[in-house]
């Protein structure tokens, strides 16, 4: 189970509404490389992970991604307060607004609703960790792209923090992949998937 903490990992206090920025940043909630997909990916993959430390890492990073999802929702919420119809239309936010008003909804910046097709849980730890490494880099690139498009210092500090976390997670997943391959057949670590091909306790 989880216990909610009534605090963010990094403070968010945005002074100026900006619906265009809200739309851009919303991709990190429900877009193809966003935080919702990240949390679901790791929290589902961990059940079939064969080692206790790898299960622990997937649980912890998946949990942190839930917190990041809340941070992106917070940014969207604060950027869409007190909007006039004129501001909504000028920012190109009318498509989002007509469907969701200023509710927080998981979709990409282009308006494509979130889908579980963005993630995989393959039941093979080499495959899953390799996907996780790519996922962290894709999220990091997305944050880089967001930083190319926005210049509000109230927001860029938060985005830089989240970008840095992708780099840390990439590092931890790289170490996890190394730990796993060290424990498998070092001549051919694809030869079997622990837990399927060799039903012994490997912990």
């Amino acid at each position: 189970m989880w216990q909610y903490q009534k605090t963010l990992q990094y403070p968010i206090n945005i002074q100026t509404s900006n619906p265009l920025y809200a739309k851009i940043i919303s991709s990190q909630l429900g877009g193809p490389d966003g935080e919702l997909g990240a949390s679901l990916r790791y929290l589902n993959q961990r059940f079939s992970a064969p080692y206790a430390d790898i299960q622990g890492l997937l649980t912890d990073i998946g949990t942190e991604e839930l917190a990041h999802m809340e941070m992106i929702g917070t940014i969207m919420h604060q950027l869409t307060k007190n909007l006039s119809a004129e501001e909504i239309k000028r920012a190109g936010f009318e498509g989002y607004f007509v469907d969701h008003t200023n509710g927080v909804y998981p979709a990409s910046a282009a308006g494509v609703p979130f889908t579980a097709a963005y993630l995989q849980s393959k039941g093979d730890i080499i495959t899953d960790l390799t996907e996780d490494l790519a996922a962290e880099q894709k999220a990091r690139t997305t944050y880089d792209n967001i930083l190319r498009l926005i210049d509000d210092p109230d927001i860029t500090g938060i985005i830089r923090f989240l970008r840095e976390r992708e780099i840390v997670h990439f590092q931890r997943f790289g170490e996890a992949l190394q730990l796993v391959t060290d424990r498998l057949n070092d001549k051919n670590f694809y030869a079997f998937t622990p837990g399927v091909d060799r039903p012994v306790d490997l912990r």
Partner: protein, 84 residues
């Protein structure tokens, strides 16, 4: 946000340091220096957490024997600049 050396900033920084060390220890469980640093931050957290809860309200429901206090403390998405 301007960096303020206040209770809230320190609390958040200690919480984050504990979390990041915890992640590091997932893949480096035998790193004694990291473990010692984690214990140092945990001790700082123990020192500061009561003062934080008294000033800003409970941050987990377990800190809050009264439901009203839990609900009254600001939600993380509330814009609190000027209050802290």
């Amino acid at each position: 946000m301007s960096v303020q050396d206040d209770l809230k900033t320190r609390f958040m920084a200690i919480r984050f340091s504990i979390w990041d060390l915890h992640l590091y220890l997932d893949t480096h469980p035998d790193d004694a220096a990291a473990q010692a640093l984690l214990e140092k931050y945990r001790a700082q957290y123990e020192e500061i957490s009561q003062a934080y809860v008294e000033k800003y309200g409970p941050y987990t429901s377990a800190d809050s024997p009264k439901a009203a206090a839990w609900l009254k403390a600001p939600w993380p998405w509330d814009n609190t600049r000027g209050n802290c």
